[in-house]
């Protein structure tokens, strides 16, 4: 039997989440920030499936379905917004998108 338990999967999920978060903090390119957001979502799916497997229920798996769907829709709309923003501002560097200042 394997000695890989719930903890290992959760560790992976946590690490991935943290890396994604740090990526959001560090990167200046809006698209890359968005990708790091997706990383965080994926990390949460790993955690959900792991819990579902180790508790013997279906709920976590089914929820991942929804997360997948929502992530897809969100990416579509978000990228459309970014494209519109690019058309307006000719840039996707986050530092220059500061019209809400003060």
């Amino acid at each position: 039997m394997s000695s890989i338990g719930l903890f290992h999967y959760l560790m992976v999920a946590t690490l991935m989440f943290s890396i994604g978060f740090v990526g959001v903090l560090i990167r200046k390119n809006t698209l890359v920030i968005y990708m790091c957001l997706e990383l965080m979502l994926v990390a949460s799916t790993i955690a959900l499936v792991a819990f579902s497997r180790f508790n013997g229920t279906m709920d976590g798996n089914v929820f991942v379905f929804f997360i997948l769907t929502v992530a897809a829709a969100e990416v579509a709309v978000g990228l459309a917004i970014i494209v519109a923003l690019f058309r307006r501002r000719q840039t996707v560097q986050v530092e220059e998108l500061n019209a809400l200042k003060n």
């Binding site: 903090l25 530092e95 019209a99």
Partner: protein
């Protein structure tokens, strides 16, 4: 209708009138005047109904309660209150009527009549009050009404100064009054007059300080020394105001209050009161001798007569016959207050008629020969002058003044001597005033074109008051129809010395000396006869008045103004600046801090998210 209801309506009708005028009729002087005169009529009718209907009652209701301190409002309607309400009602109505004519061409009539109504309300409150707190409330209200009315000609700087002075000096007296009330409450646990009477029966009065402090209120309101300085300046107000407030009613409130608290008096306090009154009487009479303005003469005369009343109270308040509700002193003081109200109001209204006729000329040395132009005024003022001088048996002033002199004679000969001398001076300046105003040739244009006022409004009150000045002295007997048997509680205590021949001779002597001297010294010329004939005395007398004012000016400039500047500093810089704006600034700092968060940078916002997540995670993980 029940007596309490009548009393309530009488009390509230001037208030209603004032409120209505203030809210709706600020511009329409005629309607305002009508409303005010109507309310004065209601007051007079109600007061006379209560006084002569024999209703004597006590009623009270609790206004608020704060743990075990309760303040109640109520009516204490005994003979004393009945007498006062009759005086206030009758004299008030006469003055209201007179004002219709006198203020007919004034621009701010509505304000004036509103002020008169507020004053009537406040005065009635003092008269009807059954405890010291309520009386204090209305005391202050009366002071406020006086301030309002003295400042009627508000565009004149002197009027503004005079009203301020009146209010502030009254405040000083009221400070002592308030401390006295608090001490009274602390010692006796109550400030209700009836309860105080029960608490002090058997002569158990605890402290001398209480009556003296309460007397401070009378010092301020009745203008005794050293707080007398506001009354002469208060003549800046219109003449009806002087007649009502500063002659007949408000200044008499001090005497009324003294009579109310006489159960608290001790012998030492009474000595002080007596001497204060005597000195005031003498000083004021001396100052009156050299005045040029007709109203100032009457003002000092009022001061002097108030001194008489206070001295009378001090002389006789210790002597209470068993079974009597009031002492001899209180009775004598109240009697003189009544007759004084009548003849002083008469004199003031007469002078108002003169001033109105001479187109607001107030200097006596510019009048003269008015007896031909204004005969009714001349005759009524003659009656008033003889009343204040005390013509035996005919005028009311004789009975009241000689009651006081008799009381002084049997109690304290020194005071008696001073009061007799003051009586001589009184007659002197009264005859001087009358002669300068009415006899001789007119000394100016306005005097030669003088005319009487309208009959219904200006002359009728004079006639009413003249009649009262003659018949107001008969408290018993066939001619006692003015009072009937309604005020037995007080009138029974008055000393009646007029049966003594010596008293009659003394009165005639006083009249003769004073009047004769005045007649001789003032041959109706332009100059002040005293000044030309006896310049030394004139200079001394003028100096008397000026020096007192100088002391006060010095005190105000050096002590009071500096203290006021210190308080101003504390208020503006410490309180307003540091504490209030500081606190506001502190809140503003929070705003600045919150503003700093909105940098527009996505990363900054995400960092705040991180902070939040870390904290949540930490909590969940049990780190903190």
């Amino acid at each position: 209708m029940e007596p309490t209801q009548i009393a309530l309506y009488t009390l509230l009708s001037p208030l209603v009138s004032a409120v209505v005028i203030a809210l709706f009729f600020r511009r329409n002087g005629t309607i305002a005047a009508t409303i005010s005169v109507a309310s004065a009529a209601v007051v007079a009718a109600g007061g006379l109904m209560l006084a002569y209907g024999g209703h004597r009652f006590d009623a009270s209701m609790e206004w608020f309660r704060f743990y075990d301190f309760g303040m109640s409002l109520g009516f204490k309607f005994d003979d004393l209150a009945a007498l006062m309400i009759a005086i206030v009602g009758v004299v008030g109505f006469c003055v209201h009527l007179f004002s219709l004519g006198y203020m007919a061409d004034d621009e701010a009539k509505a304000r004036f009549f509103g002020g008169l109504s507020i004053f009537m309300f406040s005065m009635l409150g003092i008269v009807l009050a059954d405890n010291l707190f309520m009386m204090f409330v209305f005391w202050e209200l009366v002071g406020f009404s006086s301030y309002l009315l003295i400042n009627h000609y508000c565009l004149k700087q002197s009027a503004a100064e005079a009203s301020k002075k009146a209010f502030i000096v009254n405040r000083v007296g009221d400070f002592g009054f308030l401390i006295g009330i608090l001490m009274c409450y602390g010692v006796y646990g109550t400030v209700n007059f009836s309860e105080l009477a029960m608490a002090t029966t058997g002569g158990a009065v605890v402290a001398t300080a209480i009556p003296l402090l309460l007397f401070c209120g009378a010092l301020g309101k009745s203008a005794q020394m050293p707080l007398h300085i506001w009354l002469p300046d208060a003549m800046e107000g219109p003449t009806p105001v002087s007649a009502l407030i500063h002659a007949a009613t408000m200044v008499a409130a001090g005497i009324y209050m003294l009579c109310r608290i006489e159960m608290l008096m001790v012998a030492d306090a009474l000595q002080v009161i007596m001497w204060v009154g005597t000195v005031t009487a003498l000083y004021a009479a001396l100052c009156a001798v050299v005045q040029r303005d007709i109203k100032k003469v009457l003002a000092y005369s009022t001061l002097s007569q108030l001194g008489y009343m206070v001295a009378a109270f001090g002389l006789g308040a210790g002597q209470t016959d068993s079974g009597a509700l009031f002492s001899v002193g209180a009775a004598a003081a109240m009697f003189h207050l009544t007759t004084h109200a009548f003849f002083k109001a008469l004199l003031f209204l007469g002078s108002g008629s003169v001033i109105h006729g001479c187109h607001h000329e107030q200097d006596m040395f510019k009048m003269g020969g008015l007896i031909k132009k204004m005969p009714l005024t001349a005759i009524t003022m003659l009656i008033g002058g003889l009343a204040i001088g005390g013509l035996p048996f005919v005028t009311a002033g004789f009975f009241s003044k000689d009651a006081i002199l008799h009381l002084a004679q049997v109690t304290n000969p020194a005071v008696f001597g001073i009061l007799v001398f003051t009586a001589v001076l009184t007659t002197f300046y009264m005859v001087r005033m009358w002669k300068l105003t009415f006899l001789g040739a007119p000394r100016s244009d306005s005097a030669s074109h003088a005319h009487e006022g309208g009959f219904m409004t200006m002359q009728l009150p004079l006639i009413i008051l003249a009649v009262l000045s003659i018949f107001g002295g008969y408290t018993h007997g066939a001619l006692g129809f003015v009072y009937g048997h309604s005020f037995e509680g007080i009138w029974s205590q008055i000393p009646h010395p007029e049966s003594l021949v010596g008293v009659v001779i003394l009165s005639l002597a006083i009249l003769g000396i004073g009047g004769g001297l005045a007649w001789v010294l003032y041959p109706s010329g332009d100059k002040d006869g005293l000044e030309t004939q006896v310049p030394g005395a004139f200079a001394v007398l003028t100096l008397l008045k000026e020096s007192f004012d100088k002391v006060y000016t010095y005190y105000v400039a050096k002590v009071q103004d500096r203290f006021a500047m210190l308080l101003n500093f504390i208020d503006q810089i410490l309180i307003a600046g540091l504490i209030i704006r500081g606190l506001a600034g502190f809140v503003g700092l929070f705003g600045l801090g919150a503003r700093a968060l909105h940098v527009g940078s996505l990363h900054a916002y995400v960092y705040w998210f991180l902070l939040g997540i870390v904290m949540l995670w930490g909590f969940a993980g049990g780190l903190f």
